[in-house]
């Protein structure tokens, strides 16, 4: 399942990054940061395409020998990035979409909290819990 989950704000600064393996954190930060190039590219491509129903799921952004990086962007330009292991060949595209949808809904809950300031990093227990479940594979 996911080995890293990140939420990136409108200004492209991270609001939340969590990794399964804390030793790899720096590496994943670089990977997620790098994938923003593709997110931007896809967003501007989506923007040009006509049709008002926007697909939020951006699909595969990047892949390396070890990891696959998927992206999702909300209407408010909040980006979600999920990194999975390339070795995990049984993971379907639909499952990745499900994870993103799940993440989006928990994120919406976080934002609805009147005590949460949207410019701050996310530090919600419920959000953490969901992300931990995703990384444990209990979608």
């Amino acid at each position: 399942m996911a080995v890293c989950v990140a939420v990136i704000g409108k200004d492209n600064a991270p609001k939340y990054v969590s990794c399964l393996n804390p030793n790899m954190e720096l590496d994943f930060h670089y990977k997620v940061h790098n994938a923003l190039d593709v997110v931007e590219e896809k967003m501007s491509a989506n923007g040009k395409a006509s049709g008002d129903i926007r697909e939020l799921y951006l699909g595969l952004l990047n892949s390396t020998d070890d990891h696959k990086i998927f992206g999702y962007v909300t209407n408010t330009k909040i980006k979600f990035v999920i990194v999975t292991e390339s070795a995990n060949t049984s993971l379907r595209d639909n499952e990745v979409r499900m994870m993103f949808r799940r993440l989006h809904s928990v994120y919406a809950d976080v934002v609805c909290n009147p005590f949460y300031n949207p410019s701050e990093p996310i530090s919600s227990k419920a959000f953490n819990e969901t992300v931990r479940n995703m990384m444990a594979g209990n979608l």
Partner: protein, 974 residues
């Protein structure tokens, strides 16, 4: 199998075959035409090339058509011998194979068509349709073969999970189909599909191998790698694949080379060049990643570095191919591939000791490099010799690495992939640093640092590397930022801090200027204006240890250019103009929140607080961005006065305070202040002017003076009166005005009451000041006549704000008079007096009115809806010289007046009796109808109309006022 071997075949027989015929048939492939295909697939334009063979030499197992070339030119010969030969030839041809008879002369051809009953298959060699006919037949032959092979492929694929099925054999079969399609110029994509299918099928098998027991044929791919050749067709490899004896890389390379060749063939039309060449690079990266994964899944053994070596080799070859299309070297897929090759090369370099700055490769590393180079095979067919060379020498390796990295970097930048470019730059920086070029490394790292703005983890990581490459003030700034990075461990930050202190010692006297917010958060700046200008500064220090700084805060008297944008917020910050500033002694700033006060030095003008500067060790200047932090004002202060009092009541001695707040110069001992009061206000002992002396008062301190005053407002009309005091003194250039408010405490009103001829006066006193007062000794003075107070307690009475008090006097008066009411007020043991005057008009009783309602016509009681009589008696107390007008005013919902409602009485006799008719409309106790009397002045010379004049209050006494009549309900008529 190559495509030459799978070309369609045309066989020829007969004497008519000659060089002309040969050249004719060779033109078959010169033109394309439409190929309609079954199974709903769209038509395609293809060209067919065929190989010519004499009938006896023709290879079998190939799509084929047979031709017979007759030399016979006249009809007789045809009939006698040639026809038999042709018929024999036709019979020798197997069923389902296409054939064609070509005749030398058109008339013989006509004859043959009718006699052989094969109009389509007999044609004159001079017929222009000949070529078309041949092409069509070839295509039919190929289509038939394609369908046959296609079915076979599908059948085999269905069997893929059965025992004994082998991928190698299946590959050989599907390759036949691919080769057949490859003979059709314009159908290469169809051939490519076959290889893509093979590719996908194999990928799926390997993928499943991690989940289920793999089939036996897959085991051969798990064999340890002995060589890792790049792209290129190797007949041995194909043989090995078909016989399930190939390595994983051999198979992958074989499939990809085939795909690559087909893509290159498709690349003929100019317009699709772009698409296809970028497809080549695009296909390559997934291949490399899939292979890397598959090697892991199948647990293939190989010498360390072999997989990287292979990946670099393939990438180099593909990039070499892409280079043929100059604009495509800079496509995104090519750049991504280049980037990937860079990573792998970097790993190889580290493995083999080829990186710069080291000792050079050890002997074991040289051995390993030789071994890896040998595994690449003899000579790579697509170029890419550089790798072998690079493995042999560090210089060549570094050259190759830089070449690739710079190509990828340039392309990323060109395509707007700034983050990818900067990340690659980050790696290049590491490389340059190893090479001993910290300046170049620093340039790349600084660039990379801008890309990760907002990512604290990455910023710190890059910054720590950057610090290794810098010297002097830049290093000091980097160390300061690191020491202030809260994401780092405290111990690490302290290390950076101590290094910073060391560096500062080495800096020259110019020192360095650094943006304040990199290290401190400016929480707030609060200017305090006044005579002494000060500002509270509140900052948060992120440094790990306390630091002694010289603070100063610049004041801009002219408007600062706030809108000026800093082009590079991370860059050098300029120290603005600090000629006018607030500052203080050096202060110690502790980690965390700090508050300190800065004072003005020398004379200042009003201005904006602009920049905060904290200078540390005389070398490092932390300067905040120029902004408007607040306005500081200079005031030349005068002594000010404020009035302090509660509610002040008029007509009573009251005390209030004047608070003197000393201005900038303070107040001298014994300063005299003259206070003048306006008319109606007496100060102190009763005069309208007093002089007070003030004690010595420091600047900003207060002196309070208490004054006593009595306000005597001229009229009682307004309850709130403002008095303006005027103060004159040496403290002020002009008179200082102060206003004091007084409230009139009570208000009185009068009411006249009459009983026959006796008159009473009621004085109602109410509070207007919302305070409780004591009232005592009420007196009433009349201008004429006498008055007697009705006996009430002589004790003082309490007047509450919501409860008015009344005093009553019986009057013995004649004619209009004036009355003056006096009462003493006491509030909190302070005594005052209230008085007011009012006038009373003529009020002696002159006329008495009496009315009575009685049942009419002898009935005993009044009933509703029955006529009643109103008996009205009017008496004058003495003779009056005018007539009276009476009017009956009855409430129309209760009374109906039936006869007269008004009339004039001439009061020449003392009493008048009248009877008027009224009818009660409802039953119950009804109030009497009212009778209004007025003076009647008949019309005379003065006016054309008679005039009515009302009587004054108390002149008419109504004896039956507020009487009621008992009216019974109407009798129901039965």
């Amino acid at each position: 199998m190559n495509y030459e071997e799978s070309k369609a075949v045309i066989t020829y027989t007969g004497e008519g075959w000659n060089a002309n015929a040969k050249s004719l048939l060779e033109a078959v492939g010169a033109d394309s035409f439409e190929w309609r295909r079954p199974l709903g697939r769209g038509p395609k334009h293809v060209r067919v090339e065929a190989a010519l063979f004499a009938a006896a030499e023709a290879p079998s197992n190939r799509p084929m058509i047979h031709t017979f070339w007759s030399a016979c030119t006249d009809v007789d010969t045809w009939r006698s011998s040639e026809k038999d030969r042709v018929e024999r030839w036709i019979r020798s041809i197997a069923a389902g194979v296409e054939w064609l008879v070509v005749l030398a002369a058109p008339k013989v051809a006509d004859k043959a068509r009718t006699e052989l009953k094969q109009s389509e298959r007999c044609i004159s060699s001079r017929d222009p349709a000949l070529l078309r006919r041949v092409r069509q037949m070839l295509l039919t032959a190929i289509s038939n073969e394609e369908q046959r092979l296609g079915q076979e492929v599908r059948r085999e694929r269905e069997r893929r999970n059965e025992q004994g099925w082998s991928f190698g054999e299946y590959l050989a079969l599907q390759e036949q189909l691919a080769a057949l399609l490859g003979t059709l110029k314009g159908a290469e994509d169809e051939a490519l599909v076959q290889y893509d299918e093979l590719d996908a099928l194999f990928t799926q098998f390997v993928r499943n191998a991690s989940l289920i027991e793999p089939p036996p044929w897959l085991n051969s791919f798990s064999a340890p790698l002995k060589e890792w050749r790049g792209l290129g067709i190797d007949s041995n490899a194909r043989f090995a694949i078909v016989n399930s004896d190939a390595s994983l890389l051999q198979l992958r390379v074989y499939l990809f080379t085939r795909q690559l060749n087909l893509l290159l063939k498709m690349n003929q039309p100019q317009q699709s060049q772009k698409r296809i060449s970028s497809q080549i690079a695009e296909r390559c990266l997934p291949l490399l990643q899939i292979c890397s994964n598959e090697l892991r899944i199948l647990e293939v053994d190989f010498p360390e570095g072999a997989a990287s070596c292979w990946a670099v080799q393939v990438s180099l070859q593909v990039l070499h191919v892409c280079r043929k299309y100059p604009d495509q070297v800079h496509s995104l897929p090519a750049a991504t591939l280049c980037d990937y090759a860079c990573q792998k090369l970097f790993q190889l370099g580290e493995l083999l000791g080829l990186m710069p700055g080291g000792q050079g490769p050890s002997s074991a590393q040289i051995d390993a490099a030789l071994w890896l180079g040998a595994g690449l095979g003899p000579e790579p067919p697509f170029g890419g010799e550089q790798l072998k060379e690079a493995l042999g020498s560090p210089a060549a390796f570094q050259k190759l690495y830089l070449e690739l990295a710079e190509l990828a970097l340039g392309t990323f930048k060109h395509l707007g992939r700034s983050r990818s470019a900067r990340q690659l730059g980050h790696q290049l920086a590491n490389f340059h640093q190893l090479r001993g070029d910290p300046h170049l490394a620093a340039a790349y790292l600084s660039d990379a640092l801008t890309a990760v703005e907002g990512w604290p983890t990455l910023e710190i990581h890059i910054l720590s590397q950057l610090a290794e490459c810098l010297t002097g003030e830049k290093l000091a700034m980097a160390r300061a930022r690191l020491a202030a990075s809260l994401t780092l461990e405290l111990e690490v930050r302290k290390q950076h801090w101590h290094q910073l202190l060391q560096i500062l010692k080495t800096l020259d006297d110019d020192g360095c200027v650094m943006p304040l917010e990199e290290v401190f958060d400016l929480v707030s700046v609060t200017p305090i204006s006044g005579h002494r200008q000060q500002a509270y500064v509140n900052i948060n220090s992120r440094l790990p240890e306390a630091v002694l700084v010289n603070p100063s805060l610049s004041v801009q008297t002219s408007l600062p250019q706030v809108s000026r944008k800093e082009s590079n917020p991370r860059g050098r910050r300029l120290r603005g103009n600090f000629s006018a500033c607030l500052s203080s002694e050096p202060i110690k700033i502790q980690p965390g929140l700090n508050e300190f006060i800065l004072n003005a030095q020398g004379d200042l003008h009003t201005g904006h607080l602009s920049q905060l500067s904290l200078i540390m060790n005389d070398k490092m200047d932390f300067v905040s961005a120029e902004a408007r932090l607040g306005i500081i004002e200079v005031k030349k202060g005068e002594t000010t006065i404020s009035v302090e009092s509660g509610q002040l009541l008029a007509r009573m001695p009251q005390k209030f305070q004047l608070r003197f707040t000393a201005g900038t110069d303070g107040i001298e001992e014994g300063t005299e202040v003259t206070i003048k009061a306006p008319r109606g206000l007496s100060l102190g002992d009763g005069g309208r002017q007093i002089v007070i002396e003030l004690p010595k008062t420091e600047q900003g301190q207060d002196t309070v003076v208490t004054l006593e005053a009595i306000a005597t407002p001229p009229s009682a009309k307004s309850t709130d009166i403002e008095y303006g005091l005027t103060l004159t003194s040496s403290l002020w250039d002009q008179a200082y005005p102060v206003s004091v408010h007084f409230t009139v405490p009570v208000a009185a009103s009068v009411k006249l009451h009459t009983a026959m001829k006796t008159k009473f006066l009621q004085v109602v006193v109410s509070s207007t000041c919302r305070q409780r007062l004591m009232l005592s000794d009420p007196t009433l003075e009349l201008s004429l006549g006498t008055c007697t107070p009705l006996p009430i307690s002589s004790k003082p009475l309490t007047l509450d704000p919501d409860r008015p008090l009344s005093y009553i006097w019986q009057l013995e008066i004649e004619g209009p008079i004036r009355a003056k009411f006096n009462v003493n007020l006491t509030k909190d043991e302070v005594n005052g007096a209230y008085n007011c005057e009012f006038e009373l008009a003529e009020c002696a009783t002159m006329i008495f009115v009496n009315s009575k309602v009685a049942a009419a016509s002898g009935a005993e009681v009044c009933r509703a809806n029955a006529m009643c009589h109103l008996h009205l008696t009017v008496e004058a107390s003495e003779a009056i010289g005018y007539s009276l007008m009476y009017e009956l005013l009855a409430d129309q919902s209760m009374w109906a007046v039936c006869g007269r409602t008004a009339g004039v009485l001439n009061l020449d006799q003392p009493s008048h009796n009248l009877v008027l008719e009224v009818m009660p409309l409802t039953s119950g106790f009804l109030p009497h109808p009212q009778v209004r009397l007025s003076k009647y002045i008949p019309a005379n010379a003065g006016s054309t109309h008679p005039k009515l004049e009302p009587f004054g209050p108390g002149q008419v006494y109504n004896k039956s006022k507020s009487l009621q009549v008992h009216v019974l309900p109407a009798i129901q008529s039965s």
